[in-house]
Symmetry: C2
Subunit: 700 residues, 2 copies
């Protein structure tokens, strides 16, 4: 039995802080529970000692209730919560919802109290939702345990979509919109302050809940990346689509980032990467979340590929749908030869292409619409989903009846083929089609976007099954690494990375101009010279780098110049010397580690220059990476085209690059406890091999 | 009187091809006209000679009708159309709609017939809509002159949005979706094959039509860019928002592009530029088009800036709305001091910021919602639009009544402030608010996107009034330029551009290695050497360029190498010699002219390297450009940041760049008839000045 099970189908519920006033929180909740016909025992509790509340026998304390109580809702002011909780524990309550506010969301003492109460519950083995939660719904059990005023105007129906949300109001907005569209829910859970139960645990619950087939979740921040990842993977393994609204995307993230990589990570890029790795779709609006969830719920599956078949009675709408297909990176494969011939026989004036424009001729062919769709869905259809634009046919139910019957029969015969109809339709027509597994959308663009999201989710999940099992660092004990220290120079950083298996260049720290010249001669010209100081993290800005030195004179001059630049820039800095290294050519890339406070070490890749700085063309992935996953990370940035024979140029050593990313990721995981972040900038990729040319490891 | 006026409020209409069968085209149209209660005279015409059709006296020919006929609808097979048209001309009909298909959309003979019929109508002064049109609607006149089966299930109501669309089915889809949302139309016009009337002329009509306050238009291709520009500007001057659906965006455009610029232009970038220049918004879905049109129709204005005020009873929804604001490049300015103080007094626990999260405290304050909104809309509010998220309040009309009344009173008192409410609402509540000028959206994301589009349109129109009056080249007579020829070398191209006022470098064509060395010495090292041949357009690919030559030896060697490379690459090419020019450093940019078949000369700007090739970071603008407009074009690309002190680097001479763009645009306009396109690649911008280093002019 899942630890959250006790919350959803209780036989007995105590409402502590119940009120006779049906508008106050404790009264409203009681009213909603009764209006919806909750079938279990309801025990209003109010310390006033009233004998009855809203017609039910009432109790001064939960301890006074003569029978056992499985579930308690606490809606008393914050100062009274502790006593109420103690009494619930004493009573043997298994699950408690804390509607009360005034805790971590208000101030530090509130946060402290919240932590203490959560610890108390944990110790007693009583699970707690909230505080500051808007409650939960289980429509199949007629259990509407919330004080959301949304229930004044509507009541979410029973369905197969489960929703877990940090913000209760965002949840109400979602099921409100859903109710107006006739989308039902298996469970709705608002987690509020998440002192005990968080959205990740709710996803974990929904992943195993047999009533839930599709999962929606919304949160502002996740506290435990390991739990979220595990829950999302569990949902993926259970074959349940997951659509996430991660809000607060404009938050620039921890400004205190120690590394450049950390700055680029912000808040959002990491969530994006983690959700994709775990096979979840990130939606950008409540409506998009509902569109995708509803599509998945109706289809009962995800499209098996990212190709579409499109049939349209309107050339214009067909073109619009093809535009979106292309924008979303999906394909429109050619029709099978059999389909082409059959369509040509049916509609000689139409060109049997994809998108298929039936032309107005279809109106002259009996059952032309249904027959075209049947032809376009052979068992060997190359597309994972067929979208048929049927204009407003669904607004004339009688005229549409035959088509409707044939489509339902077709889908019954070919249940493995996803079929989406785009048309205006009466609610009854839509409901009949959707009950039969055929999704109906009014707007062609929204239909395609939802299908694209579902098809991408299917792909992400196929990729997951290829063996990407991220190991969370945050739960591992990490041995302290020799050499890791809060302040490391470039040279020290590179020594550590070299030991970790990342190629570096031969180089030498010199403390005189003559020593520098000697080193240059030994290494071979051209060389570079760089100041070495643990106190100067940004050498270029300090005038601490001289590139492309071709002869002894230049090396000697550069040595002196670098030392005097450093002295001018940072008079207090301890200078270890000047590093002389070979000048190598190739493509400059940036490899980084961002130590995410939630998700642990994340590997970053991007190309040097404007790709990263101007176009933010970077990608993140969870450490560790196999070399194959390293390669996938490289391919995820647009500018990787420059490494692969760009405009007739050379093909660079992607294998060496992928290997370096993999080694870097392992190093980061091993030293996760000490690391703040790593920048390898640049890692120069050559046609054979590649080198870490400069690096900065930042540690606690 | 506008030439299209006669189409919309006819006193008498002949329906040629009328049928007794209410399902056939000619019968259905008659049925719709009668069902809607068209108030004028209706004359069914059918050559069968039936005495009555659908209960109305019928005629064998339009010439048999005893009274005059203003408007004729022709719904006979294509071969019978010519006679029908002749008879209409004879009868003195002013406006004819050609529902018949089988013309240009079918084959070349059909196109020929269509052209001939259009010429015949034009000559007779009779305007023609179609052929292959789905018809038009004027709800205010109960004139539903269409055979769209959409009218079987719904009838668009009267409103202030005008819709012109090439694809009739796309029009039906739009007003179908609109009807289900209660959005009405002033006019709906489907232009079909556009033998005479096109969407641009319809926009021109709607721009002056007093019944129309907002214009929507949809098309696949525009045939006459001048007309479209003029119509859009007329609408902008009339203060009517224009929302355009340009479909077929995935079409890669004329593959036969003579220049690189032409390739980059494709189909879509030029439309994007032209629509923005003319102050129109391009929507990406029918739903988006309707959202924006409806918003504008309800508000009766465009927001006066791109700043938003946001009030939300839910922290989560407030954050979501702030996310979108930031994504869409809009601002959230701080509240005024007065507003802050007043909110603090009203809701002491809430932080008076923007977005303003009222916190749950608001439920304890009488009329808290209305009072907060009132406070947030002072006469000096810094934002052009206030969005208030009111959850599901509109689903409980009685509880909401006071708030509703206060909001309506507020808007009446401050009609210049745009107010948008985001909430779930009963239709009646929504209608009352919208009738009062307060827009209501259900989904917060869609609300913000619509507001952002409207606010951007307002900005585009402010920018238009700053003097950007593009002159269309296609209507100008252009004198032939001396020197323009189908095949021009780099040197010839640069001579012409130099004469046009674009700075070039001193350089010399040399025909021997010693001459090359002499030229290099005269110009000063370093120099570049480039092969000169009208037969070699792409010099780099031909091994025809040697950069950064520092001394005589290198120049002599390069001379020989270039000649032998050219001989190997293109043995037939006539080689004029080798060009020796100074090697200049700076930022490489690309200036181009795309001769658009619809819109005439379009100026392109981008930065060299990956900015253009990989990230498609280019911008287009209609020629001619003033230097100020040239600067705006530069600023429109993301990579222009590299010219403006990027990461502490130099600031380049934007003035010189803008000047060159302006001169280039004038040159293009002057020679529009002969030009196929121009690439200046690179134009090297320095900190003082800039030079056209390489150029290719392509001519007819």
């Amino acid at each position: 039995m899942h630890p959250l099970h006790a919350f959803f189908t209780p036989g007995s519920v105590a409402l502590i802080g119940a009120s006779s006033d049906p508008e106050r929180i404790g009264g409203r909740t009681l009213r909603f529970l009764r209006e919806a016909g909750f079938p279990g025992h309801l025990y209003p509790v109010n310390h006033s000692g009233a004998a009855e509340i809203q017609g039910l026998p009432a109790y001064a304390s939960v301890l006074d209730i003569p029978s056992s109580v499985e579930h308690a809702i606490i809606a008393v002011p914050a100062p009274a919560v502790e006593t109420a909780l103690r009494e619930c524990i004493h009573k043997g309550v298994r699950a408690v919802q804390l509607f009360s506010a005034g805790f971590a969301e208000v101030d530090a003492p509130g946060a402290e109290l919240q932590t203490r109460l959560a610890a108390m519950c944990r110790e007693a083995g009583m699970r707690m939702l909230g505080p500051n939660t808007l409650g939960l719904l289980n429509p199949s059990h007629n259990f509407y345990a919330t004080f959301s005023t949304a229930l004044n105007g509507l009541r979410p129906s029973h369905g197969i979509v489960g929703l877990a949300t940090q913000s209760g109001a965002l949840g109400s907005a979602t099921y409100g919109m859903a109710a107006l569209r006739g989308i039902g829910f298996s469970r709705v859970i608002a987690t509020g302050n998440e002192a005990d139960i968080d959205v990740a645990e709710c996803i974990d619950y929904l992943a195993q809940d047999p009533d839930t087939r599709v999962i929606c979740a919304a949160f502002e921040a996740c506290k435990n990346g390991t739990r979220l990842r595990a829950a999302l993977r569990k949902a993926a393994i259970a074959g349940k689509p997951v659509v996430i609204m991660k809000i607060a995307s404009s938050d620039a993230g921890a400004a205190a980032a120690a590394t450049h990589t950390g700055l680029l990570a912000g808040n959002d890029a990491v969530y994006e990467a983690v959700l994709a790795e775990c096979g979840a779709h990130r939606a950008r609006s409540l409506e998009e979340m509902l569109d995708i969830a509803h599509l998945c719920a109706v289809l009962g599956m995800l499209p098996r590929n990212e190709s579409l078949g499109i049939m349209s009675g309107s050339g214009g709408i067909g073109i619009l749908m093809a535009d979106h297909t292309s924008e979303l990176g999906m394909q429109l494969p050619a029709l099978t030869a059999d389909s082409s011939h059959a369509l040509q026989a049916l509609l000689p004036y139409a060109v049997p292409a994809n998108p298929f424009d039936t032309t107005a001729q279809i109106t002259a062919v009996p059952d032309g619409v249904a027959r075209s769709i049947e032809i376009m869905l052979p068992p060997d259809a190359p597309y994972g989903c067929l979208l048929a634009y049927l204009a407003h046919m669904g607004l004339s139910p009688q005229r549409f009846q035959t088509t409707e019957d044939r489509l339902i029969a077709l889908h019954r015969a070919r249940p493995e083929q996803a079929l989406v109809v785009v048309m205006l339709a009466d609610a009854a027509v839509r409901q009949r089609l959707e009950a039969a597994g055929i999704a109906v959308f009014a707007d062609p663009s929204r239909a395609i976007r939802a299908v694209a999201a579902a098809a991408r989710m299917a792909r992400l999940r196929r990729e997951m099954s290829l063996g990407h099992v991220p190991v969370s660092s945050t739960t591992q004990a990490c041995p302290a690494a020799a050499g890791l220290a809060p302040s490391l120079t470039e040279v020290q950083s590179k020594v550590l990375l070299h030991a970790a298996g990342i190629p570096t260049l031969p180089e030498k720290i010199c403390t005189s101009a003559s020593e520098a010249v000697e080193a240059a001669q030994a290494l071979g010209y051209p060389v570079v010279a760089k100041i070495v100081s643990a106190d100067i993290a940004h050498k270029t800005e300090a005038g601490g780098v001289a590139l492309n030195l071709h002869h002894a004179q230049a090396v000697a001059a550069a040595y002196d110049q670098l030392r005097s630049n450093a002295a001018a820039h940072a008079p207090q800095a301890r200078i270890e010397g000047v590093l002389i290294a070979p000048m190598v050519s190739g493509v400059e890339t940036i490899l980084g580690i961002h130590m995410d406070p939630v998700f642990g070490p994340m590997v970053m890749f991007g190309l040097g220059g404007t790709a990263v700085e101007l176009y933010k063309d970077v990608a993140f992935a969870t450490a560790p990476l196999t070399p194959a996953q390293g390669l996938a990370l490289v391919n995820a940035v647009r500018s990787s085209a420059l490494l692969k024979g760009w405009r007739g140029g050379p093909v660079y050593d992607l294998h060496a690059l992928a290997q370096a990313l993999s080694k870097l990721s392992e190093f980061a995981l091993q030293h996760a406890e000490q690391l703040k972040g790593i920048d390898i900038n640049p890692f120069v990729v050559q046609t054979q091999g590649g080198f870490c040319v400069d690096a900065l490891i930042s540690c606690h």
